[in-house]
């Protein structure tokens, strides 16, 4: 599904989609962290009007530790695009997509609390699924699954 569509998308994006391939029915575009916003703006102008999802993959031990992954959908072409970039642990920062899509507000908050990715331009990165004051980022690979930090203390005798 969608191979000719993807060829058209690639030619429309030109140099922005230099590093791209089709994988399992999705066009995957790799980009440098600074190139995310220009690329997504071009994607949006190209008809990818729905921002589906943003998350990250923690490749613990690799130089650029975090891979930030966005998914977009075009309601006209009915195909999906995945945008990926790698950021380093010392500076886990990418541009926010809030200026382009309303859905960015909530989804970037989730990605921030779970992986500690900061989204430049999104000033509201309060915890969403976690609580205020939660320490650490639970979906990072170096956050132990068993680690607990209950907001309400356990009752005596229960541990």
């Amino acid at each position: 599904m969608g191979a000719p569509v993807f060829d058209r998308v690639k030619s429309d994006l030109g140099a922005l989609a230099e590093d791209s391939a089709v994988s399992h029915g999705v066009l995957v575009i790799g980009v440098a962290p600074d190139g995310v916003l220009p690329l997504v703006r071009a994607l949006k102008n190209r008809g990818f009007d729905m921002f589906l999802d943003v998350t990250a993959v923690d490749w613990l031990g690799q130089a650029a530790r975090f891979e930030v992954v966005w998914h977009f959908y075009s309601t006209t072409d009915k195909v999906r695009v995945r945008v990926k970039t790698r950021v380093r642990e010392e500076q886990p920062e990418v541009d926010s997509l809030l200026s382009l899509y309303g859905s960015a507000a909530f989804m970037e908050r989730e990605c921030h609390e779970m992986y500690g990715i900061r989204f430049r331009g999104n000033d509201d990165l309060r915890p969403l699924l976690l609580y205020e004051g939660f320490v650490g980022h639970p979906l990072r690979k170096d956050y132990a699954k068993e680690q607990e930090q209950p907001l309400v203390p356990y009752r005596e005798g229960f541990q």
Binding site: S23, F51, D53, Y101, S103, F106, R126, L129, P138, K145
Partner: protein, 410 residues
């Protein structure tokens, strides 16, 4: 310890804590509010009864689903994904299994494909019924609630005859399904669908042109198509605004390309449209199920793929042949070996696009599982449908979003 001495910190920091005018007041609604179903917290600034602005907080049902998934085999996640949208758990099962099958390059058998499609549509009816019934009950329509919930309960018990469970089924399998239909199941299905036509007809008669219902629902909680798309809305929420976007039509999966069905849409994206779109979608699902019964009857082949990488051997062989015993052991202990790679597979869940983003490093355990949950994305734009309306409108509007805590908070 005296519990009265306990000082608990506030789990949230509201986006605003000062009203914009001395006339206004800020109230906190939830997370355990008797009138909302679902643990959601809404901080609202009110001018009398009118909502000026809202700050929506979810996460009270967060249980670390994605973290937990990283330490179990691919098969063992099936009971977990059941608990995302627990009103239509089978759709989650099938979407997850389809994502793993895509990575493994497994094509399911025609019979499994038809049966999955049938059960997915059956679950969609149950899910929409839950949403509509609860929404009507919150407006005081107890009779309509009981009509719909009776049908839903028949459906639940009927699905339990196939799966063995009423709500969380663990019925999907990578490469197929747990078991085939029991004898007499299809006859019972026809009887339930007949009852469905009768009772849903009565609900239409009670509600559609009811003055109270229309006054509460029409032009309340309106969202435009442009806003809906910008906020990533999918499913009945987006269709209620008039956009005929449905993954079953747009990117057909399972057996949807072989079925005849329509995509109902609303007029202006208000609560009434969301009610009506769901009612019409149930009719379309019934229409599809009746086609699928015929397709299933003509398709007697095997249910599970013959692929030792994912399908469990027959129990009798496990106890009599060493190869099958080893096969069974490896699948249980190590899990199916899924080739390294990443995949995003989305199915049309009852609430909208339910996407699974899986990353495999070639192990029997996923490296990462991420769920694109429609409820979560819908909550991100909920303020658009709440601000400017009355406080009492919050209940039907929130009900029509059909936020399911299990998939929203994960």
């Amino acid at each position: 310890m005296d519990m009265r001495d306990l000082r608990l910190p506030n789990p949230i920091k509201p986006a605003f804590d000062k009203p914009t005018s001395d006339e206004h007041v800020i109230v906190n609604i939830g997370p355990s509010h008797p009138a909302t179903h679902g643990t959601i917290q809404i901080v609202a600034e009110l001018d009398g009864e009118k909502i000026i602005r809202t700050d929506v907080h979810c996460g009270y049902l967060h249980r670390g689903f994605e973290k937990e998934c990283e330490s179990h085999t691919w098969h063992n996640l099936i009971p977990y994904v059941d608990r995302l949208n627990y009103c239509s758990a089978l759709i989650n099962d099938f979407a997850y299994c389809a994502a793993v099958e895509e990575l493994m390059d497994v094509e399911i058998t025609p019979r499994a494909k038809y049966l999955r499609t049938l059960l997915a549509e059956y679950s969609r009816i149950a899910d929409h019924m839950t949403c509509i019934a609860a929404g009507l009950m919150e407006l005081g329509a107890m009779t309509a609630f009981l009509y719909l919930v009776s049908i839903r309960d028949w459906i639940y018990e009927h699905i339990a005859q196939v799966t063995g469970a009423r709500v969380t089924y663990s019925y999907g399998r990578i490469g197929g399904l747990a078991r085939d239909l029991p004898d007499g199941w299809i006859e019972r299905l026809h009887w339930i669908l007949g009852q469905y036509d009768d009772f849903v007809g009565r609900v239409h008669g009670l509600v559609d042109r009811n003055r109270i219902f229309i006054d509460r629902m029409r032009d309340v909680g309106v969202i435009s198509t442009a806003d809906a798309i910008s906020y990533g809305y999918t499913g009945p929420m987006l269709r209620s605004t008039g956009a005929p976007r449905d993954l079953r039509k747009d990117t057909p999966y399972l057996a949807y390309s072989e079925l005849d069905f329509e995509v109902p849409v609303g007029i202006k994206g208000d609560n009434y449209d969301r009610y009506f779109v769901r009612m019409r979608e149930m009719d379309e699902s019934v229409h599809m199920i009746r086609q699928l019964v015929d397709l299933l009857a003509a398709c007697k082949g095997p249910l599970n793929v013959d692929d030792r990488r994912c399908t469990f051997p027959e129990k009798e062989h496990v106890y009599s042949e060493i190869e099958s015993l080893i096969n069974h052991f490896k699948l249980v202990m190590d899990g199916p070996r899924v080739p390294a790679g990443e995949v995003y597979v989305a199915h049309e869940g009852a609430n909208g696009e339910l996407g699974f983003y899986l990353v495999s490093t070639g192990e029997g355990t996923p490296y990462k599982v991420h769920v694109r949950a429609p409820s979560f994305v819908h909550m991100g734009g909920a303020h658009k449908m709440l601000n400017g309306y009355q406080l009492a409108d919050l209940i039907p509007t929130f009900g029509s979003i059909n936020m399911i805590g299990g998939e929203c908070d994960r």
